[in-house]
Structure formats: structure tokens, C-alpha cells
Point group: C2
DNA sequence: AATCGCAATATTGCATGCAAAGAAAAAGCA
DNA sequence: TGCTTTTTCTTTGCATGCAATATTGCGATT
């Protein structure tokens, strides 16, 4: 009656899952710009499947909030506003605070060494600011989430980290290192020391800084109407 | 190029969405027990649609974590373990804490009245403990999430509330009112008074109590194998 | 008599096809 | 020329059908 214990098989087995994951990666990696149309036909053709598969994948991405689905009109890559961006960071801060609090006390010597090693590797790449460095910085947060052993927390942190990258890509300053290795190091040390409140505060401050770096100014206007409104109000149509 | 600003149309328009929402309600209302099989045929027939629709709805519910999808085997109502349950509550507490903190200061007289009215209606149904009362209690949390104006927070709170219902269905005591109207009232009053830390503490305590009520004892074994293992060890097969 | 293997059955995975809703383009009117 | 209306065309929404995979029941074998 009950299914076997297998939770979420490692590699995607059905075509729908494959396309689902591929599309998600494409969106997160900014290969598909926010607002882009996602026609079922084109997707199916790209992956060598029928529209049915593309359609199912789009529906699932819509549940994840990465795609906007408009009935009878089609699917579009989500296009978070600046305000949405702030909201995403709010959620992320709450989640990672809980994550850090949960982690205190679960850190043994093995894990401690692993974390220190990871931070050291980050520091080594700190000078560069390419995709690799950015990916590594994000992975720090994902690793911590994984260490909690809480599947839902891991999923949500993964999602929020992804979406924060998206937001940073849209509104962040081009050449800012989004995560400082030094800040990560401080968090790790607080965790190892068992200082719950300290670690939580450091993480909170860390994310607050990342957010403020990005979200202070709206570098890109999100909607055409927002852009044009500024011009329209100076024009007398009559 | 970009789609119009319309986010998530109010009422579901496509059949897929309708079935999706209906199935979710059925699961949350505990009309479909955790672990139950969800055959595409039966669902399609129930709603008067084809399997295609049922299939899409199941895929979306799987993303939400309410359904387990096993390739070539079928769909099952999610069957969270006790540990999963704890993890879900951990996440929910973190989210709702952030929610309450965000809400303080956003409460004007109109909203205050609306919240008080909602709590009053809850109190009126407090005696009963049927599906309607349960639904209303959950809606309190969803309403608060909606008031933040944070779409991601709303989505995550919605998901965690849903999954907590599932967990309570599995492990909670049968006749416990899961959310006390009095506790909700206290939270609302703290919010209206602008007492951020107080409101956060009340919410945290509220959810901690709900969790502890449910998760102290494992009333139901999750997996058939877990159940049978206890019997098997007393039996000599030979 | 219990176990193994095989066939029959049920259910999922996926593609195709048709109808309808929207968008774009062309024609008609002021 | 500019605006409305109608027509065409693209794209989505959904059902059906076929192939593939897992499960169940039955019979053969040891």
C-alpha cells in the first residue's frame, strides 16, 4: 500500500523530470532572461520531445515560482521586481538563521575540518569574481543546509539561493563579490565554537549586507511601463 | 515582451489548475490518507477529465511535496516520517516568525478589524473539530502571510501549513484542536499593539505547542516494513 | 509444499491530433 | 491617414491511443 522508502530518486528518470531540471538550470544560470517567452513547441523541439513534456515541466516550474503561467497565453520566465527581490532576501534570511541555529551542536571535528577547508578554497578564489567563484560562494550556504539533515530546509534554501542569484543578476552591481569569504569564515568559527546566537547574528548580518549591496538602487527597470511612465508624464499627448 | 503584471489569477481557470487545487484540498482535509495510491485513471474519472489533467496535477503536487511520484509506479499521498515532520515544523516556525516580524507596523485599523473578525469566527467554531474548523485555523496563518505582500513568503507558508496538516493527520492526536483561537487572538493583539518581539514569541510558542502536541509520540508507523519488523522478529519463519 | 519462472493484466510514459482562445495582420470605414 | 472590424494564423488546452514497465496470478519444477 505505501510506496517504498525511496525519496526523490537521485537522477531524473522520466523525460518530464529531465526537461524540468534542464529548464530550471537554464533559468537559474540566466541563460533564459527574465520575462522571456517559453513556447511549448520550442521547448519540445529543443529537447527532442513532444509538447506534452514541455507543458508538464512548465507547470511544475510555475509551482516553484520560476515561471509565470498565464492561461491561454503561455509561459514566461519569472521576472521578479525589486520588491520581490527584497521579499526573497527576507525569506532567505529567516531560513538561514534557522539553519544556523539548528546546526550549532551538530558540528563534529570532521565537519569542522570540511567547513574550514571549504572556506579556505573560497578565500583562494576571492580575488577572481567569475562564475566559478560565485558558484562556490553559493555552495557554502547549500552545504550548511545539507548538514542540517532537514530535506525541506535544504530545498527552500536551495531555491532562495537560486532566486537571490537571479535577483542579483538583475539588480546587483556588476562587479561585487556577493559573498565574502571572511564573513563565511566568521560564521564557521562561531558554529564550531557553539555560539548559536553569534552565528545566527553573523549570518543575518552577512545576508543583510549582500542584500543591501544589491537592492539599494534599481539598476534595471523591470517593466516597460515603469520605464515609459517617467517619459510619458512629461509629454502632452494632445 | 514581458507579460502583464497579473500574478497568479485569483480563481483557477484551466482544468489542470482546478484538479490541482481540488486534490490539494482533499489531501489537506485528510480525505486522502497519507500513503494512498492516486491512480491517474481514477482521478480523471472523478473529475470528468482525461488522465492528462490528473497527471499534470499530480506532478505539480509532487513539487509541493504533498505527493510522492515514483516513476512507472504511480503517485501516492506523501507519507512524511516523524523526522520529516519535525523538520517541516522547524521551517514553518522560522518562516512564521519572519512573517510576524514583517507584519508589525503594517497593521492599520481596517486590517486590525479584519483579523479580529477572523479570530472571532474561529472561536465560534472552536467547539467543533471538523474539517471546516481545521481549514479555518490554517487560513489564519495564510491570511497573515498574504498581508505581508511577500509572494515567496506566502508560497512557503502555504506549503508548510499544508504539509503540517499532513503531519498532524499522521501523528497528531485525533481530537486535538490544532490551533487554538485564543492563541491566535493573542498574536493578533500583539501585532496591533506593534509589539514585534512579543508577537514573534507568541507565534513561535504557538507553533512549538502545535508541534509538540503532535510529534511527541509516534502514533502511526509510517512504513509497512517498520510495522512488520516488530512482528517479524518474534516469528520463526522456519 | 514451497519457490521460481512466465504469462496476463493493469497502469504509467509519452506522442499525436483536434478544437478553442488570443494575437497578428489585413481589409473596411470614417 | 487613423481607427475599427474581420479574417487568418499561431499557440495553448485537452483527449485519445499506443508502447513500455511494473504487478499479479498461475502453473511448472524441485
Amino acid at each position: 500500500m505505501a510506496p517504498e522508502r525511496t525519496k526523490s530518486a537521485g537522477s531524473p528518470r522520466t523525460r518530464t523530470e529531465k526537461v524540468h531540471h534542464a529548464l530550471r538550470s537554464a533559468i537559474i544560470d540566466q541563460r533564459l532572461a527574465p520575462g522571456s517567452r517559453l513556447p511549448e513547441d520550442a521547448i519540445g523541439e529543443s529537447f527532442g520531445t513532444s509538447r506534452t513534456i514541455a507543458r508538464e515541466a512548465l507547470g511544475r516550474l510555475a509551482v516553484e515560482g520560476l515561471v509565470d503561467l498565464i492561461p491561454n497565453r503561455g509561459a514566461f520566465v519569472a521576472n521578479p521586481s525589486l520588491e520581490d527581490g527584497r521579499g526573497i532576501f527576507t525569506v532567505r534570511r529567516a531560513l538561514e538563521r534557522a539553519m544556523v541555529l539548528d546546526l550549532v551542536g551538530k558540528i563534529d571535528v570532521t565537519i569542522a575540518a570540511r567547513l574550514r577547508d571549504m572556506v579556505a578554497r573560497e578565500a583562494a578564489l576571492a580575488a577572481r569574481n567569475d562564475a566559478e567563484a560565485i558558484r562556490l560562494a553559493g555552495e557554502f550556504h547549500l552545504t550548511l543546509a545539507q548538514l542540517t539533515g532537514n530535506p525541506l530546509l535544504l530545498r527552500y534554501v536551495t531555491e532562495t539561493v537560486s532566486r537571490c542569484s537571479l535577483v542579483l543578476a538583475m539588480y546587483g552591481r556588476p562587479h561585487s563579490a556577493d559573498c565574502g569569504a571572511r564573513e563565511h569564515s566568521a560564521i564557521v568559527e562561531a558554529l564550531i565554537a557553539g555560539d548559536a546566537e553569534g552565528a545566527a547574528a553573523l549570518m543575518d548580518q552577512h545576508l543583510a549586507e549582500v542584500a543591501s549591496r544589491a537592492l539599494l538602487s534599481s539598476r534595471v527597470e523591470k517593466d516597460i511601463r515603469e520605464v515609459l511612465a517617467a517619459y510619458a508624464k512629461d509629454i502632452d499627448i494632445g
